[in-house]
């Protein structure tokens, strides 16, 4: 019985953090029609901000999260301006989706190696946001850090949902996702909206990075694993829809928790990727089985 509780608890925690990182990728795919391969390095930057704020300067944890949000928002906006905006005018003659896959990938390489250059190759220890553990069921305990991570992730995803459903700029993001020309003809300033959207998505990953920093250290390659995990969630959930991404995030979280408890962590990612491989072969476009136009 304890196994099941452990699987569920861990599954929900993993699901939340995967959701936070993957939902940014879906938001970007929905509006810009690109797969942002630099999202992993935003998690890495979040980790370093967490290390800088918490380990070396003992800043209040909440402030560290806000700082990570702001820093990665700026880096995300710059990434869009450097690797996507120059290509938007040339949608006709260049395979836009593929080229931006490469240019965001290149930015990911750049950021990883700038971090390597600046912080050195060794892993840095990031203190947890909140210390202490909670006993859930005899034998099964969860750290307060992980609980806060899940809580903040759900909070941010909820806030994103409300922003899209209620606010003027949320409408504009959804409108751009569904009919770019119609949105522009109504006055939506696309050349400012695109960078801001990528900034927002990167900021979500940055906040996630602070939490993951405590679990897996801050290091130049700290972004690779979250990128691979987010790709799994995005493929499963279908690139277009936020709700699809949410379901997929928790499904992957539960699968990972199951593998870790029953089989052992080394086999977790191979199993997840094998699952993806099988799904893409049987249902060519993820669980929904059809190329996903943006739902947002």
């Amino acid at each position: 019985m304890t196994d099941i509780v452990a699987i569920i608890v861990n599954g929900l925690v993993y699901g939340s953090i995967y959701g936070l990182v993957a939902i940014g990728m879906t938001l970007i795919y929905g509006t810009l029609r690109i797969l942002d391969m630099s999202q992993g390095s935003m998690v890495m930057i979040g980790g370093y901000v967490g290390w800088w704020a918490l380990a070396t300067h003992g800043v209040n944890p909440l402030l560290a999260l806000v700082l990570a949000f702001v820093v990665t928002f700026v880096v995300g906006t710059l990434t869009e301006l450097v690797s996507v905006q120059p290509l938007i005018g040339r949608r006709g003659e260049v395979d836009f989706e593929m080229v931006t896959f490469i240019t965001t990938f290149a930015v990911g390489i750049l950021l990883t190696n700038v971090a390597l250059q600046h912080f050195g190759p060794f892993q840095k220890n990031v203190p947890p946001i909140v210390s202490g553990n909670l006993d859930v069921y005899h034998g099964v305990s969860i750290s307060y850090h992980e609980l806060t991570m899940a809580g903040v992730s759900v909070l941010l995803m909820g806030a994103l949902g409300l922003f899209l459903a209620r606010t003027r700029w949320g409408f504009a993001v959804r409108a751009v996702a569904q009919d770019l020309d119609a949105a522009r003809s109504l006055g939506v300033p696309v050349s400012r909206l695109y960078p801001a959207t990528m900034g927002l998505a990167s900021a979500l990953a940055g906040v996630g990075g602070v939490f993951l920093g405590a679990l897996y250290f801050a290091s130049p390659t700290a972004g690779d694993l979250p990128l691979l995990q987010a790709l799994i969630v995005v493929v499963l959930g279908g690139l277009g829809s936020l709700t699809g991404t949410l379901y997929a995030a928790y499904l992957v979280g539960l699968m990972q928790a199951f593998c870790e408890v029953e089989i052992g962590t080394t086999w977790t990612l191979p199993i997840l990727y094998t699952a993806i491989l099988i799904i893409l072969v049987i249902r060519p476009y993820g669980l929904k089985g059809s190329p996903s136009e943006a739902r947002l």
């Binding site: 569904q178 009919d179 020309d181 522009r184 003809s185 939506v188």
Partner: protein, 244 residues
């Protein structure tokens, strides 16, 4: 009377293919100009150039006394140009009300959006009855009315309407043109309406222009043109061919 909208020597198209060839057209303030022409001869391209969604290759477009052919679609929309696109350009996965609210996106109209929404619902009861449905679930005629309603959500100096009767059953076309007549009466905006066939524009057009292979070939009032050789020629092909 300075023209509300003046297009002169417009050349436009897509990457290298020129569709609009040296087109000139000026519309007096408050008047409705209807542009008629066979498919693929540049009607939609002309509107896309005016509203800035495509960059004109050469020629000038002036709104009142301001040149807009170099501005972005977003800023042209802010200057009061409303473009009701071909097909309707609705956001399929947003509700009818959300689509209408997007019509008032520009900052000057966003604050007063609730009142404007009430007025549009009063004018278009059909649209109000479907307010919470996703646009994707509506019929062709209903979608066209929502598109028009969205255009009415903010004050328009110039309104561009692209083939409102496209693919609609005759009864739906009547409802759409009734809405257009109401819109013209209330807003007093200058209207450029593009259509493929001739039947419905009688009650709406102050002046009619015939567009063929990318430029305006004839202009005149609706009555003059509807009994005119060249109009029949453009549409029906020379009758002599048929008898051989």
């Amino acid at each position: 009377m300075t023209a509300a909208l003046d297009v002169s020597g417009l050349v436009a198209g897509y990457d290298r293919t020129v569709v609009v060839r040296d087109l000139s057209l000026s519309v007096e303030a408050g008047k409705t100009a209807v542009v008629i022409g066979p498919n693929g001869h540049g009607k939609t391209t002309m509107l896309l150039a005016i509203s800035g969604l495509i960059k004109p290759m050469s020629g000038s477009i002036t709104l009142g006394d301001e040149r807009i052919d170099r501005s972005s679609a977003e800023s042209i929309a802010g200057m009061g140009v409303v473009h009701i696109m071909q097909g309707d350009g609705l956001f399929a996965d947003m509700t009818v009300e959300e689509n209408l609210l997007m019509g008032a996106f520009v900052s000057s109209s966003w604050r007063g959006r609730r009142e404007t929404l009430k007025r549009v619902y009063a004018d278009l009861p059909v649209v109000e009855s479907k307010r919470d449905q996703k646009a994707r679930t509506l019929s062709g005629g209903e979608r066209r009315l929502v598109g028009l309603g969205r255009g009415m959500m903010r004050p328009a100096r110039v309104m561009l309407i692209d083939e409102p009767s496209l693919g609609l059953a005759p009864v739906a076309i009547e409802a759409v043109y009734a809405a257009i007549a109401k819109l013209r009466a209330e807003s007093g905006a200058t209207v450029v309406l593009v259509e493929e066939n001739f039947t419905h524009i009688g009650g709406v057009a102050d002046v009619v222009h015939i567009l063929e292979t990318g430029s305006i070939v004839r202009s005149g009032s609706f009555d003059e043109l509807s009994h005119d050789r060249t109009v029949v020629e453009t549409y029906l092909g020379s009758i002599t061919d048929v008898t051989t």
